[in-house]
Symmetry: C2
Subunit: 366 residues, 2 copies
């Protein structure tokens, strides 16, 4: 048996982040970090009711407040690539912490853990959630599992997800739809090409449309969502001397949260149907977006407390799971999301400190 | 040891074709058929000098004629697919012979064998060649091997290849060039597509050109060669949520024999360079065409003797190997080339009979 590591609570949130980063927790291998978090809570947070579900941990206050908020973060990372242990460049106030998970999203998880222990009487009841399997296929997602099997644990009036947002509030998220556009033809020997019908050539109108397409920017609840429409895969061909009889273009549509998945699908059907009606369109993957939900009073209090101007979130995040549960949700966490998953993942420590200060101010009723 | 089958010489060329079809000889497994041919020649053709080279057989007259012709055919087939043994539908004069190799090209091989035995004093010296490994990669080709290792055996003033041509004379052949057009881009998460450059989208101009392209028909030595320009493969994509940074379109150009390989390559560089100068073009495979060579006196005698109007050959055949050796060459054999390699490969037997009659007339000095 491996001993559960002890996480440092007295050295500040940056040291706590570094310690959590240094417990590698690639998806599927989160147990040691989950054990360490559970141990801290059981020793230092008697004001919380702690539940364990697989490698997810749910810790709740029960103060009888009028409103409850969920504050959640995933503890898994994408695979390590020679970027552990963490490395602090500069000092613990102005420096930069490097390493896998520093951005996505152990800074957020450390802020949560520090405040879960420190705040025994927050202004709202709080449900703290650390969960597993966010970086792999959606069916394994720990938050999704809780939503399916124990939805009462997630009941709340507002939710904050500690995903990296450069320590600003990023509201909602775009939806994502992946479709396959398939063209068919008739095989023939390429020496007598006129006897066949070339399915790869039949992709031309759809590909031309994509190359010329100018994606929209759509305002939803006051935030501007930039859409994207891109080929992410193409395949076709039988042999070097055969006119191919089928070819497939895979397209990913990132759509603003003013549209449902069904509306996004219809949009693509109309768009591609207009230039290539003979192609078939098959949806292979779909996740709805989430409206920013910044009109909720709790959200407005939150934004006022942490400061700054809310921005849209482009990538799909688990805020959409809260949206599905009818809970307004925003992203708020340290780190630049465009550095997530990169080998040189790194976070300015001042963003970790800022997030702790912001959340603390709000939860203290400031 | 397996006994060498005995091929029937006395039942006509259709029965001989059927017997040769029934000795399966998929590329690499030609030995039994080669043995059977060698045995017939050694017993029944004392007027020929017979040489064996691997599973190729070269049988030559040495009559001191002023001119020599090569008459050649490959004895291998593509894989059998439940289409052996052969099956004669109808009678041996007007019927149809079904089975693997009936078209490509045991009818031609049987015509050659019947005449090699029967004609002990042809009007020209004749070099009969049955060879192996035509249906697989070019480096294994038995005719190519002889051209490299024993070119003196192939010396001639004119060559006839018994490839299927519907019993008509098909002159020369188109060349073939295969190129890869590669586009590069910059990876990014598809949620923030504007940070990347989509390599699949960069294929659009080239694919659009192909879809709109109208291939030329070019007259060479009096025959009209129909060209072809086709995508035969396309690939690209990293993952469903990544803007891809490279994509490749594979294009096959079948070009008339008025152009060299170098000229065909330059043509493609100019064509695609005009619409997509940032793509790279790499030649992956090239074989020159062959001019029909019908202006040679021997070719004119041959055409007059067998009758009909010469037509162009579209597919690449080993006539191009003779063209490389400086020997005018044509295709002349029973069977519809568009049925070659199909599971329902079949030949009208009257074409086999017609080819035997035509070659016999010419070689008899008619």
């Amino acid at each position: 048996m491996t001993e559960t590591p002890i996480l440092p609570l007295d050295e500040g949130v940056v040291a706590l982040t570094a310690a959590m980063v240094d417990i590698a927790s690639v998806s599927g291998d989160e147990r040691m970090l989950a054990d360490a978090i559970e141990r801290v809570l059981s020793i230092h947070a008697p004001h919380l009711t702690v539940l364990r579900d697989g490698d997810a941990i749910v810790a709740r206050t029960a103060l009888g407040r009028a409103q409850r908020v969920v504050i959640a973060g995933h503890i898994d990372t994408v695979p390590v690539n020679a970027n552990l242990p963490s490395r602090l460049e500069g000092d613990a106030v102005t420096g930069t912490l490097h390493g896998r998970g520093t951005v996505d999203m152990k800074g957020g998880c450390a802020v949560m853990l520090a405040l879960a222990v420190a705040l025994d009487a927050p202004a709202y009841d709080v449900t703290w959630v650390w969960y597993d399997h966010e970086e792999v296929e959606a069916s394994l997602n720990g938050l999704g599992r809780l939503a399916r099997t124990r939805p009462e644990l997630l009941a709340a009036d507002f939710a904050i997800l500690g995903e990296p947002s450069n320590a600003g509030v990023e509201g909602g998220c775009n939806g994502t739809l992946r479709v396959e556009l398939a063209a068919t033809g008739r095989r023939a020997h390429s020496a007598r090409a006129w006897m066949g019908v070339n399915a790869i050539h039949a992709l031309a109108p759809a590909l031309d449309l994509l190359a010329r397409f100018e994606p929209a920017t759509i305002e939803v609840d006051g935030l501007a969502y930039r859409e994207g429409l891109n080929a992410v895969g193409v395949r076709g061909g039988v042999a070097g001397n055969v006119i191919p009889d089928d070819a497939v273009l895979t397209v990913n549509y990132r759509f603003a949260p003013d549209k449902s998945v069904a509306q996004a699908e219809q949009y693509l059907r109309d768009l591609f149907g207009g230039v290539a009606p003979e192609m078939t369109l098959t949806v292979t993957d779909a996740s709805g977006g989430a409206r920013p939900g910044l009109d909720a009073p709790l959200a407005q209090h939150f934004v006022a407390a942490v400061g700054g101007t809310p921005a849209p979130k482009y990538g799909w995040t688990d805020v959409a799971r809260f949206a599905e549960l009818g809970i307004p949700a925003v992203n708020y966490g340290p780190g630049d999301p465009s550095l997530a998953h990169t080998d040189d993942e790194r976070v300015p420590v001042e963003q970790i400190i800022a997030c702790e200060r912001g959340l603390r101010a709000w939860l203290s009723g400031a």
